[in-house]
Point group: C2
Chain length 431, copies 2
Amino acid sequence: MRTEKINIAIAGFGNIGSYFYKTVEKNKIDISIKTGKIPFIKYICAKNLKKKRKIKIPIKKWIKNIKSLTKKKDVDIIIELIGGSEGPAKKLVFESLKNKKHVITANKALMAKYGDQLASLAEKNNVNLEYEASVAGGIPIIRSIKEGLIANKINKIYGILNGTTNFILSSMEYTKKPFAEVLEKAKKLGFAESNPISDINGGDSAAKLRILSSIAFNKNISKNKILTEGIQNINLTDILHAKSLGYKIKLLSISEIKSKKLMERVHPCLIKNTSRIANIDGVLNAVIVDALPIGRSILQGEGAGPGATSSALISDLCSILHGNIRYPFGISSNLRKKVSKFNILNHVCSSYLRIEAKDMPGVLSSITKIFTRNKISIKNLIQRPDKRNKKATIIIITHENIEKNYNNLILNLTKNKFVLNKPTFIRIEKV
Amino acid sequence: MRTEKINIAIAGFGNIGSYFYKTVEKNKIDISIKTGKIPFIKYICAKNLKKKRKIKIPIKKWIKNIKSLTKKKDVDIIIELIGGSEGPAKKLVFESLKNKKHVITANKALMAKYGDQLASLAEKNNVNLEYEASVAGGIPIIRSIKEGLIANKINKIYGILNGTTNFILSSMEYTKKPFAEVLEKAKKLGFAESNPISDINGGDSAAKLRILSSIAFNKNISKNKILTEGIQNINLTDILHAKSLGYKIKLLSISEIKSKKLMERVHPCLIKNTSRIANIDGVLNAVIVDALPIGRSILQGEGAGPGATSSALISDLCSILHGNIRYPFGISSNLRKKVSKFNILNHVCSSYLRIEAKDMPGVLSSITKIFTRNKISIKNLIQRPDKRNKKATIIIITHENIEKNYNNLILNLTKNKFVLNKPTFIRIEKV
């Protein structure tokens, strides 16, 4: 039996691209044994052909003009590793699908923004659109939802989807060093990009969450404004206070169905330090799926880096080589439903607040009055005076209440004459 | 477009069978949306047709004669839920594959013993043989190795594969009650069968491990004698001593490639209580995969019960409905290699020993001499005298050594005149 050769083009040839290339070359025979097809990397498209690279690529593979790639008759699969939701990546993926090429992408921004249109296009043209690497790196979460957990009705999916921020938070805890210092270290170690803003502010996690919700709940990708808060305002003191109270601070991405509506949110959370994901530290990712009939499943592993990403890309590649066309989101695009949004102002949780206030008589009574006025009940209050600076740090753990009341509380506290700046507010999540 | 109907027969209709039936009936439309085929449960075969059941099954579905099932022209998929490596289950699965029916089984004993022959037969007849439910319940570990982690070279796969023993060990720790009492409670709660011997003695875990090793390393199922020790000799005192030393006791199933040879073992382990799987308690299962390029991945979830098992069975069903024939073990049977066995006597670990001895002068020196003679170095020794009974409990943590020396050590200790009975020996595992 002659094994069929499948031609692949890679667009974008940085760290990930070259690692993927090497891994495919190395495992060619293994892949063909498992899938019955031989993957052949025919073209590589890079911005800068003259850049010095560690691996030698035969000259005839190089292509400068990305547009020409999608029109080539001898390309079956295009792998998009350019990144960004607009510009060349967007053009490439749309054009490739239009020209009936299978597409594999690691681009969460693109999928979160145009995933619905791209999926329809892929289905119309009977090609695959695969994007396992776009969420949670090497953890095969997309494939698991679509296949391993296919029997289940998921009601909540959440986890740690950003390795950079998880590294920063756990390093702050273990080294007791402040945010800025730890961020610099993360950059040096290659765990944070030179411009890490979309990691830090939660934007990266939110894009991944939109993709996950969509597959988990069989809905269109939500265009809702997601409650997105990053870790830029988490101080070392919050991490240490949380620890002394038996909590850890994690940036969680949470998507759930509440009263038949979708609630998506990305924000730092206090979670019990005995909880399952409290010890997922460093650059690790974890995804928790609550579903019926299976109960709770947790998948954890490397969330980023060339190895993990290549593992996901190759699982996509093998799925295509296996030769079955699947719906990109598990079901046909015209059966995916629109999502209605749960009003986040009705979200219920208990919370942690850190209030920096003047240290003088009457402060505590003035502050606690604001809580009473907003119907928020205090469970635990710790006051730490700082006599030298004539100020005090007040840590409060509240009983459960709704988001709306917390918003008012913080507005009122910020305006209070004793309070020095906007209080730090972190939701407590039961996980 | 008319959606094709696929006929299914279920053989064995206990808890799992009836839960599976209900779940398929309830999710029929969902399944057909996702796979393009409608699953139709045509026949149900049970030992006792007159048994009172909670669900009503139309009379024409019932079949008493299991042999006739495999010959029916109007059956496409047979689901074997009878259990046991021999007898009717074995006959049914072999006959079904011979008659070109797809087979789904939850039967680890059968797969561990005849998996190779069954896979060859399925490949020859171009049908699927699926067995996701046979290992780790609802955790989609088999599908993940074959698809999500397909790019990876696995060097070690291990975990907690038996929910019953994990429940017993963690209950002993939390309730401080002895083995026998906790086992009775487990039976009452439905977490242990009335005859739990194959769970308790590690046999169940060993069967699952054989299946996992085979898929993870692309090898034939090993016929080796696996080092198998159960939890029947773990005393509450061991659990409490371990805890005070910073460890937990878990029954682990471990498979790894050492010097190109396969080492498989199932035995209780002391693991650091800070390790990732230390807090996998109760009936939960977890599987850890160490592989390149992905690094370490952990999957955890419900290891048993009708919900978890049905989730796995339906993922198998959907894979067949999707319509692609795959190699049961990921690669063609004639490419799977024979395994050579790592000599377990050369396995290196540190260990925990509990020695019950007479409390009289000279005992400790006599015992430590035996350690010296066997070249085993002591890291930590705790002596707890029990004056009333004129005995003492000696707890020893050793430095690393080889299995062979430990075997001799225990022989020598058991023969020593001061030692009251065979010491308890538990390996310490770095996880």
